[in-house]
């Protein structure tokens, strides 16, 4: 189980500094781990950035990588979660020719079915938007392909950790010189009771 590869979402809180993206990226590339998706943007806390990184790896490798990330000077905290521990979305944009859309009723029905929203309507083309999991946005892309899908783009994954209480409280702890207990998460060691017998 520990060694089986699966999708993990790694969430990293960092200082906002030039070059940090590279410092984090090389932790993956050095170990020849492919990054499936990467998103970075300011978090709910001013001055703190949040990275959301998706990799397909074993838990054992992910734990080691997360510890290496957390070791970087400008990283405040890194978490890793399996898909059932998070809620996530990706955003996709689809550009289709207006003629196709206006003339073919079937297309309109497709858009309704997928809950797409028109974000730009022009004489020559229309841009639609959907959000969802990869499979969902893929389905619409496949369905639109026969009707002249001109351009398609998808964002990286953004994810909310179900159990997380956000970063405001944690940050206060970081600003103190002596960190509180909860900062030193030692969850792996906590399971040692099981092996701790002579």
């Amino acid at each position: 189980m520990e060694n089986e590869k699966q999708e993990f979402t790694i969430t990293v809180y960092t200082e906002n500094q030039v070059g940090l993206l590279n410092r984090i990226a090389i932790i993956f590339s050095r170990r020849k781990i492919n990054v499936e998706s990467l998103n970075t943007s300011p978090s709910e806390v001013p001055g703190i950035h949040r990275f959301t990184i998706v990799v397909v790896e074993s838990k054992e490798v992910v734990i080691k990588v997360v510890r290496q990330i957390e070791k970087q000077v400008e990283v405040l905290k890194a978490y890793y979660n399996t898909n059932d521990e998070i809620v996530w979305q990706e955003l996709a944009l689809y550009k289709v020719l207006s003629d196709e859309i206006t003339e073919k009723v079937k297309v309109e029905r497709l858009l309704r079915e997928f809950g797409a929203r028109a974000v730009a309507i022009r004489k020559d083309f229309i841009v639609f938007e959907t959000t969802g999991h990869r499979e969902e946005t893929n389905k619409l892309m496949e369905a639109l392909a026969p009707f002249g899908l001109v351009e398609f783009v998808r964002s990286a994954r953004v994810a909310i950790i179900k159990e997380s209480a956000g970063f405001h409280e944690k940050l206060k702890d970081f600003e103190k010189r002596e960190p509180g207990d909860e900062l030193i998460e030692n969850e792996y060691l906590g399971k040692r009771e099981a092996v701790f017998t002579m």
């Binding site: 070059g19 957390e70 070791k71 000077v73 010189r177 960190p179 030193i184 701790f196």
Partner: protein, 565 residues
């Protein structure tokens, strides 16, 4: 607060003074000229050692840091000056050596234009620095340098590189004084000690019948030598070291059972796979120490003390991971553990030591062959220094032999390139080691391959007049590679036959006294003469051409499959 106008360059030097820096190793060049110009007025307060190559400068900085326990400071210019630091940065990163390297950079407005001597040193050095930062505005200099020194020396130490564009070096600004940094929001130098893991470790140690302590450089970096000694003495446990842990515990301590790993001692390697509790202190289970991982100490409960949480469970899963600074965790363990007589268990090590002596060491120390062995050379050094000298080694056979046979009484006496295995390290590192410990004898032991990688630093010795004893153990081969080719590649000696210049003439041309010995009868006197000589000295010793280092754990084998011959 009073403010005064300073240039960025002056602010860099003020920071060095405020941090207690006394020696800087460096090499000037176009993009760092403003700092060197300012240095001209700071000559009284800051000693600058002009090296012959930036790699020599950074290795000297490493040697200085290792013997003095302070942060080594290195200056280099942009472009090639900066890229020449990369090997030293990688070496310092893997061996946790505190360094602050300051590189010049082209003017900020030229960044990204492929300007003369411009290189993207920040991105080049990212994987080999604990932290790096580019300054393009002089007002950032005081607090960024304060952060650099703090990060370099705190927690698990490491190299920090600060790249300063030329305009920032020239720029005048209102200097508000220097404040030492002791907190960075996103940085935790040491994890909090958890009492439950201390208790679990104590319980394991107290129940153990055959505990073995293995220690690394963490004991030295944590300045915890005394705490470590108390810990092993109270519980009577045998202790074995990694090559970077060497000298943290005196070599003749009755519980010091020797060296771990590929060319380590027989007992500690075999008994790693026989002990019931393995207590690792400030070491990182390098593959040269563990041999084949899936056959490493599988029978033992493992307790791992480390300041760097990412080291715990990285290579070897710990049953109890004691996170924290060993200067704090060791006394907590000592408090809880019971006094025990473990002489029977220590005798098992003694038995293995005897067997190793009979089958391996005896012939190394007193060879029947005409050619001298490296071990007898080191033995001759021990006879005179009695373990009081600092010994700096390069990489290869001579390094393994020196670590195996050299005696040490004091900590911070063994300087070697461990993790990276950088040939060419020893000569410049020895220069730095001496600057870091002026009252001690520094002996560099170097092979005929390694010396030829950085022998330009004889020029630094000449010009500074620093006293370094250089012993070149010449076997006319790249010995370690040749040994592997002999043992594992059917003696296909592919490009390991290496010629040397006349080292005596070479040293003399640098105004360094020198001698060469090829006969056993001359060895003792030659070593004595070298050590008695006032000033630097080069002694070339011709040793057996095809001698091998044993014992040896062949690659891919378990530590208990160590070969004595």
């Amino acid at each position: 607060m009073d403010t005064k106008q300073l240039t960025g360059s002056q602010a860099v030097l003020e920071a060095c003074i405020a941090e207690g820096v006394d020696t800087i190793f460096g090499y000037p060049g176009g993009a760092i000229m403003p700092i060197y110009d300012a240095l001209y007025d700071y000559k009284e307060k800051l000693q600058h050692v002009l090296v012959r190559h930036e790699q020599g400068g950074i290795h000297a900085g490493q040697g200085y840091a290792r013997t003095s326990g302070k942060v080594g400071v290195v200056f280099a210019t942009s472009g090639p000056g900066a890229t020449n630091l990369v090997t030293g940065l990688a070496d310092a990163m893997i061996d946790s050596t505190p360094l602050v390297c300051i590189t010049g950079q082209v003017f900020a407005h030229l960044l990204g234009t492929d300007a003369f001597q411009e290189t993207d040193i920040i991105n080049i050095t990212m994987p080999v620095t604990k932290w790096n930062y580019q300054i393009t505005d002089a007002t950032e200099i005081p607090h960024i340098l304060a952060k650099a020194f703090y990060l370099a020396r705190s927690g698990r130490p490491g190299p920090v590189l600060i790249d300063i564009s030329k305009n920032a070096q020239f720029q005048s600004f209102d200097y508000e004084g220097y404040t030492v940094c002791n907190h960075v929001r996103s940085y935790r130098p040491k994890p909090i000690i958890r009492k439950e893991y201390i208790d679990q470790a104590v319980q394991l140690i107290n129940q153990a019948k055959k505990p073995l302590v293995i220690f690394g450089q963490g004991v030295i970096l944590g300045k915890a030598e005394k705490e470590f000694k108390k810990f092993i003495e109270k519980s009577g446990m045998p202790a074995a070291w990694t090559i970077l842990g060497l000298s943290a515990l005196p070599t003749d301590h009755p519980q010091n059972v020797g060296m771990l790993g590929m060319h380590g001692n027989y007992g500690p390697n075999v008994l790693t796979n026989d002990c019931d509790v393995l207590i690792a202190v400030g070491m990182r289970f390098d593959d040269r120490v563990t041999g084949r991982l899936d056959k490493y100490a599988k029978q033992a409960k493992i307790i791992h003390l480390d300041i760097d949480p990412s080291e715990i469970d990285k290579n070897v899963l710990a049953h109890v991971g004691v996170w924290g600074d060993c200067k704090e965790t060791l006394p907590l363990l000592t408090m809880g553990i019971e006094q025990k007589d473990r002489s029977a268990w220590l005798n098992v090590f003694a038995g293995y030591a005897k067997e190793e002596y009979e089958q391996c060491i005896k012939d190394e120390m007193h060879p029947s062959s005409e050619a001298m062995s490296m071990a007898e050379v080191i033995h001759a050094v021990n006879e005179i220094t009695k373990g009081d000298a600092i010994i700096v080694t390069d990489v290869g056979q001579h390094q393994m032999v020196t670590c195996r046979y050299a005696k040490f009484n004091q900590t911070r006496s063994n300087v070697t390139s461990g993790g990276l295995g950088t040939m060419g390290f020893a000569l410049p590192a020895a220069i730095g080691a001496k600057f870091g410990a002026l009252d001690r004898t520094v002996i560099a032991v170097i092979g005929d391959g390694g010396i030829q990688m950085t022998l330009q630093e004889f020029g630094t010795i000449m010009q500074t007049g620093i006293e370094v004893k250089v012993m070149i153990l010449n076997n006319e081969f790249l010995g370690m590679v040749r040994q592997w080719q002999q043992l594992f590649m059917e003696k296909r000696y592919s490009f390991v036959d290496i010629e040397s210049p006349d080292y005596v003439m070479l040293a003399n041309s640098y105004k360094i006294a020198a001698a060469k010995v090829s006969q056993r009868e001359e060895l003792e006197a030659a070593v004595a003469k070298m050590l008695a000589h006032k000033g630097s000295y080069v002694l070339e010793v011709m040793v057996g051409k095809e001698n091998n280092v044993f014992p040896m754990v062949p690659q891919g084998c378990s530590v208990s499959e160590i070969r004595l011959k």
